[in-house]
Amino acid sequence: MATATQHRELNPPLWLLAELTYRCPLHCVFCYNPVEFARHTEELSTADWLRVLREGRAMGAVQCGFSGGEPLLRDDLEELVAEARQLGYYTNLITSGVGLTEARAAALKRAGLDHVQLSFQDSTREINDLVTRTTTFGLKQKVARSIEANGWPMVINVVIHRLNIEHIGRIIEMAADLGAEYLELANTQYYSWAHVNRDQLLPTREQLIRAEQETDRWREKLGDKMRIFFVSPDYHEAKPKKCMNGWGNIFLTITPDGTALPCHTARMLPGLIFPNVRDMGLKEIWFDSEGFNHYRGTGWMKEPCASCPDKEKDLGGCRCQAFLLSGDPDVADPVCPKSPHHHLVETIVAAADTRAASGADAAAPWGAGQNVHPLIFRGPKESLSLSATDALTRSGKPGS
């Protein structure tokens, strides 16, 4: 339970992520939205969102992200952006670009939108359209030019996985040609849909080494024209990440149905109840709710974390990853070599290398390989069917 003393030590959130909707025109195989997203259809109203924005800003949040799903599917986006900007947030639109017409871009500019982060799925039409199951490649190029024309700083985000990792040099070149200031090469994190498709998406160790070398070559070539972030692939690096910069430390996500979470995916964790902004104010949610206090700090840790010299540095890694891989959200993140479950990660990484060596990838790069199901695209039908299966097998250990 939070006490008055903890209140004084605890900082307010700096980041408010408004996931306006789970609806999305894309069907990305690595989407981080919950696998059961189609079961959460009750979206917050405009008035609810406006209240959330005001409460967050009053607490001291400075960054506001509008995300989804595809946030452009909400026709009140301009109104929410205008309010957020007027309140003093730095406003970030995190979008696939689908629906960002000239008219909406102009309206968002008038609303005071500060920045657009555009996701690309590949440098080639073939892979972009394949992994999203759409024909959006040309459109994204057009949207990138519109972002530049409106004077927004452009951040391009590309999720990296086995199907596009060999194109990394061309991806970097494309982003530079489009005028991006920052490029985030986000090695896939295996949650939600990416977890379902992990065997298809996990690159080999050798591919990752080559990708990082290629990235370094481009960094040298481009200088400070474009900054490139290479998100650490934590299965391979065997280094637990300080997830969300600490549980309930700076980051507050509100899902489309109003559930407040300390990270995008925390709702998968068993045994925790997260409050809803329809029932509770943001301040009480942040400081007093069980969901936000449960994994704050280091008090919840077991061994080997509890006596680890790095426990403040990584805070035991990611709770969702611990749960997905071991079935227990309270254990050390299995990507850590000190974790008693680390062998699970080693087996998964070794299997990716073995599959590549056996030529399975060359024969069927994205179809059914040996013991690998075909890619499952994110969609409402797939969501309902997967979450029904999940409910039936809940008592069993996931990830085994």
């Binding site: 980041w15 001291g60 730095y90 970030n92 920045h115 982060q117 927004w152 951040v155």
Partner: protein
């Protein structure tokens, strides 16, 4: 991208594109906001940047600072800060 002109006393620095400077009561300091991030500024950085309007020249900016804080000889420190700030893209000038 504009070419990186040398800083002169008559340069008119402004806050860089995509950055926003504001006072944050919750942090009790000026902050510089940019895509998905924030820099907390110490007092002198906050005072310099809040004068980078694109209208004041460096000479006028320094004179204003010296008058506000009843001091003199700030030119070198201000110029050194502005050069560093431009490397971070916090400020720009033509």
């Amino acid at each position: 991208m504009t070419s990186a002109a040398e800083l002169q006393p008559d340069s008119r620095p402004r806050v860089g594109t995509g950055f926003r400077l504001q006072w944050e009561p919750a942090q009790d300091c000026h902050v510089l906001l940019y895509p998905e991030g924030m820099v907390k500024l110490n007092q002198s950085a906050g005072e310099i940047l809040s004068r980078c309007s694109g209208e004041l020249t460096v000479a006028a900016l320094v004179a204003d600072l010296e008058a506000s804080f009843h001091t003199a000889g700030l030119m070198d420190d201000v110029q050194a800060f502005l050069r560093m700030a431009r490397q971070q893209k916090w400020v720009a000038w033509e």
